[in-house]
Homo-oligomer: 435 residues x 2
């Protein structure tokens, strides 16, 4: 084993890549650094930096997509608002697993939730003259912040670490009472920290959204994967927690990437509450000729973003939603594999002296899932990330996710077997020896 | 036949749809008006307003896409820069039909050229502090203008009608000499007018791009379809005309929607010149941490737009490009059907007293293809569009394409058989009787 890599080699690679602080590096830069270190050390790294679905695609989707291709959909522009059967099945899926009534017309496919959040942030910033800022509840998914940055939209944010439970209310009011926030965005379960907002916190969010006429953008990329409660039985409680229980000012994003392991085909859903879909915004009408929120999203924003989502992938998504609703495909059970891995990997990290940074929801320990966060004693972000890299472990810094805590995000998706676990353990041992 | 529809019925529908001037209606609004009139009159319209591929998808694409799905690509995030075989085949395709040498790494798939133009316009507006305006050579594709409008980017434009040939130079200098233009966008062959820029005009554009350090965004959605010259033999002259012969400051967009009748899957290529791909922009680096043009497009812009293009569709595109290069699939011959239709439809319109508005490229008549433009005597846009609608013919106004001429755009894609032609003729007769 050619590990640990010496510090000079690492610093040389960082300099070549124009990276001053490794803790500021984006996911893609971290991947590139890991790749360069793999080449130098001739050693395959433990890739904990990336969140790729490590499971096989839902086969009902694959079959439906091939059927649609056979039937000739490749030549025909997709309906930007979505094919009718997809919208219908999505509505039933949302009833089955979130217990929300959303009409089919209010649910629209997008090219991944990435396209959804990009365009929702853009649209929300165009609704009112005075509401020109997006509020991020961090830690968060770095591209969400990049949306605003690239689009030139103002953003504010806070780290939720110190504002859990009822403290969240005061913190939100601090921003919202200024009247300049158009929308609040977060993912739940949370990427990177895997914390889940409690019902108390979701209620606070919903009530604030009502009080200040702010839209909640809730990214449910990992829905069902808070395995502390089993939402897998359709139309039966418990259901996926959502802010939709507490306000009509919501828009949900539900990606196929993780729940159906369908990341390759870039398909997701954006679901407006029935009320918000129909709402007329004078400024949208003045700017683009279409004032109704839902129609504007489709006919103005998605139209010029990509003119819709892959026609065949819409059939795949439709079939997967249907299979989930009928109980034929248990997406919760399928993804539970991630929890098994997380449990094992957490054990390893704690065994070698690491601590879970974001560790609780209320009084309860966070669940096991796709991600978790670890720190090491009082070690700063740069040192922690660099030393892990030198030992063959790639992660991303919490700093890039808007967190103010010291630590890194660990993604368990790429650790598929016991050999991967053993390798990781050897490297953690090496890390301790470096101190 | 329940035609002509009386004027009161039409006006009532326009009022209900909040359309004050029908000549300002977008394509989608025109479609909606036509649909409402079809319901009222219980008559299927002649749909000349939409440009949908009216042919079957290239079968090599369908087969390759299904193969990729069988091989499991649906679960794996696509490489945002494109799968290697697609990039390689695209490079060969560009050599075969445009006679340009572009390295594979400089060619990147996008979710339709719509995603390409959206992100290129956004990126080009971020290159220099002082270059903050996009120049449109009109008539043009309305969504291209909507990109800038929605993104809040300044735009200027002119109607090329009066500035063909050497007059183009002076007109371009008028804008470019101010130093505020970052990029120029047009489609060639032109949508809506089907004019094609002559070699003289492309040379002027290229020279101006060099002189003023401006980027040319050339949309080749209808490449090969200027049937006056047959570019169908790979690696043999004549080749598709392109500004790439006259400057390195170019980016090409090549959609699969029309050339391979693959609109449903939303896939296209963006090709940077080798030189432009590698160019470092200080401002990109400062803003987003990545300064190189091509890497910035992929890792900053496409990453947050949709995290790449459908994985399986990339295999489809790759196979179609390869089949075109090998001569197995003659995309020029396949799309020539549109020319046959255009020839016939032009005959009909001129028979009933219409004139072709944009009629010449230099001394030569424009070719027959996907679109053409017609006017009727001195009739204004509103009256022309309204009267055609009343007779069961849906079109879009030239006004919405940035043209200053009176007339409408005719798309021939939906007229597939002789019966469609006969119906159109009866309606044109009816139109004349309305006068």
């Amino acid at each position: 084993m050619n590990l640990p890599i010496n510090n000079e080699t690492l610093q040389k690679i960082l300099t070549e890549m124009d990276i001053v602080h490794i803790s500021d590096a984006t996911i893609r830069q971290c991947c590139a650094v890991a790749k360069a270190l793999e080449d130098v050390s001739e050693t395959k790294f433990s890739h904990l930096e990336i969140g790729v679905p490590g499971l096989k695609a839902c086969q009902m989707g694959v079959e439906a997509q091939k059927r649609a291709l056979n039937e000739g959909v490749a030549s025909i522009y997709p309906n930007i608002a979505g094919i009718p059967e997809l919208k219908q099945n999505a509505s039933e899926f949302i009833k089955a697993f979130l217990n929300q009534d959303i009409e089919p017309k209010c649910i629209i496919p997008t090219v991944g939730s990435m396209q959804g959040s990009f365009n929702l942030i853009l649209q929300c910033s165009r609704l009112h003259k005075d509401k020109d800022t997006i509020l991020y509840i961090n830690p968060g998914f770095p591209p969400h912040m990049l949306h605003s940055h690239v689009l030139g939209i103002k953003q504010e944010s806070f780290d939720i670490y110190g504002y859990r439970g009822e403290k969240l209310k005061e913190k939100l009011e601090e921003y919202l009472s200024n009247g300049h926030i158009s929308a609040i965005i977060y993912s739940n379960p949370n990427n990177p920290a895997w914390i889940c907002l409690t019902e108390e916190e979701l209620k606070i969010l919903g009530e604030c959204a009502n009080k200040y006429d702010v839209i909640i953008l809730e990214d449910l990329a990992y829905m069902g994967m808070d395995f502390r409660k089993d939402i897998s039985v359709p139309f039966k409680a418990p259901f996926q927690s959502t802010v939709a229980n507490y306000t009509d000012n919501y828009i949900l994003m539900m990606s196929a990437s993780k729940i159906f392991s369908y990341a390759g085909e870039r398909i997701s859903l954006v679901a407006f509450s029935n009320k918000l879909y129909k709402r007329e915004y004078k400024q949208l009408k003045e700017l683009y000729g279409i004032g109704r929120m839902g129609d504007s999203f489709t006919l103005t924003f998605l139209y010029i973003a990509s003119s819709g989502t892959s026609h065949s992938a819409q059939y795949a998504m439709s079939a997967m939603l249907k299979a989930a609703v009928s109980g034929e495909y248990n997406f919760v059970k399928e993804t539970k594999e991630y929890a098994r891995r997380a449990n094992r990997v957490k054990e390893l990290f704690t065994k070698y002296g690491f601590n879970i940074v974001y560790d609780k929801d209320g009084e309860t320990n966070i669940g096991d899932g796709f991600f978790f966060t670890v720190g090491y004693k009082n070690m700063g972000n740069d040192e922690l990330l660099a030393k892990l890299l030198r030992c063959g472990i790639a992660t991303i810094s919490l700093k890039t996710t808007g967190s103010c805590q010291f630590g890194v995000r660990v993604s368990v998706s790429a650790l598929s077997d016991e050999k991967d676990m053993q390798t990781l353990e050897e490297r953690l041992k090496l890390f301790v020896e470096l101190q």
